[in-house]
């Protein structure tokens, strides 16, 4: 796979005020071409106002096998959810 272009992850902001969201990935020789390719592959139907690309190997990701140590300890700690407070009616919608 030595001749493959690097893989880029593509993030697109759909409208002003929203966050960029991951939409997929593509191959490109450099960042500029990655943005152009993202324009052609992911914004053909008027999906975006802003594109981010990041080379996939620059993303540090958690390992699926760490699922237990990372996430399970919080499952049993329901008191971390702010559901045990009596909210006075006068406060209105929070």
């Amino acid at each position: 796979m030595k001749n493959e272009w690097p893989l880029w992850e593509v993030f697109i902001r759909g409208q002003h005020g929203l966050s960029h969201r991951h939409v997929g990935s593509l191959h490109a020789p450099d960042a500029e071409m990655a943005i152009k390719n993202a324009r052609d592959v992911y914004t053909r139907r008027n999906e975006g106002v802003s594109i981010w690309v990041v080379e996939a190997n620059n993303i540090a990701a958690s390992s699926p096998s760490d699922k237990g140590p990372l996430y399970e300890p919080s499952e049993s700690k329901v008191y971390r959810h702010p559901t045990f407070f009596d909210i006075p009616d006068e406060v209105g919608a929070m």
């Binding site: 272009w5 191959h27 152009k36 592959v41």
Partner: protein
């Protein structure tokens, strides 16, 4: 021809030239669909082809109106014979390799973007409107093809060889875009379109800058193949292209979705 050319006849010819350029190049680029070297390029080329064919609908649609013979853009695209086409020879040469396809695209896009910049100021509001709408697409085509030409030229020894060979092959087709005749004179007089020759210095400045970035050598010769935009003589390639592009309407007249 000059003596008998009415304003509407000249305008019709001018619109055919615009629409046939985008039609024939759009068809050529569409031939890559499913065959491009990588998926991303395949999609990008197909997008470009669709843009160009969309632009054709506007130019040939207006041409049909001006002609006043009740012809639609489809009639003009699919039911004319090779000698009635008015595209420059550059856009009908075969795709050959990816390098030649991209170099042809760049050499055309550069002219196209400059031409549309002038047409946005056309005295004919219909033409100014089409130019304003299409110039954004073409600005992107130019950005993409210029970057790819630089990428291939300033890339590996192999890619440089391919794109230099493409430039050497295509350069003699550049000059035709800047030739003028009675049709152009009528367009200039009416303030509809610029004199093609007047675009050459802007074109050279743009193209030479990109080709220099691409580390390519521009051929010395200013020899130009001609005959496409006047219809005097196309290359043998256009007839073959039309047999593919037009066969369905020829075999099944009036067929529609």
């Amino acid at each position: 021809m000059a003596a008998t050319l009415t304003q509407d006849e000249a305008l019709f010819q001018f619109l055919l030239r615009m629409g046939d350029n985008t039609l024939i190049l759009g068809h050529r680029v569409s031939e890559w669909c499913g065959h491009a070297p990588v998926l991303e390029e395949d999609i990008a080329l197909a997008n470009t082809a669709l843009d160009l064919i969309g632009q054709t609908q506007m130019w040939l649609g207006l041409a049909g109106e001006v002609q006043g013979a009740g012809k639609s853009a489809d009639d003009l695209a699919f039911l004319r014979d090779v000698w009635d086409f008015r595209n420059v020879l550059l856009v009908e040469v075969p795709n050959a390799d990816f390098g030649r396809t991209l170099m042809r695209q760049f050499l055309f896009d550069a002219w196209h973007s400059i031409q549309l910049g002038h047409l946005m100021k056309s005295s004919d509001p219909r033409i100014a409107a089409i130019a304003a709408k299409t110039s954004k697409e073409v600005a992107y085509h130019l950005e993409r093809s210029a970057d790819t030409v630089v990428g291939l030229g300033d890339g590996t020894e192999e890619s440089h060889g391919f794109i230099q060979a493409a430039l050497d092959y295509l350069w003699p087709y550049v000059g035709e875009m800047f030739t003028s005749d009675a049709v152009d004179a009528a367009m200039v007089d009416a303030g509809i379109a610029p004199d093609p020759a007047s675009l050459r210095s802007d074109y050279d400045a743009l193209v030479l800058r990109v080709l220099e970035d691409a580390t390519l050598t521009v051929p010395d010769s200013r020899f130009a193949h001609k005959g496409g935009r006047t219809g005097a003589m196309h290359t043998e390639h256009l007839g073959h292209l039309l047999t593919q592009m037009q066969w369905l309407q020829r075999a099944y007249p009036g067929a529609s979705w």
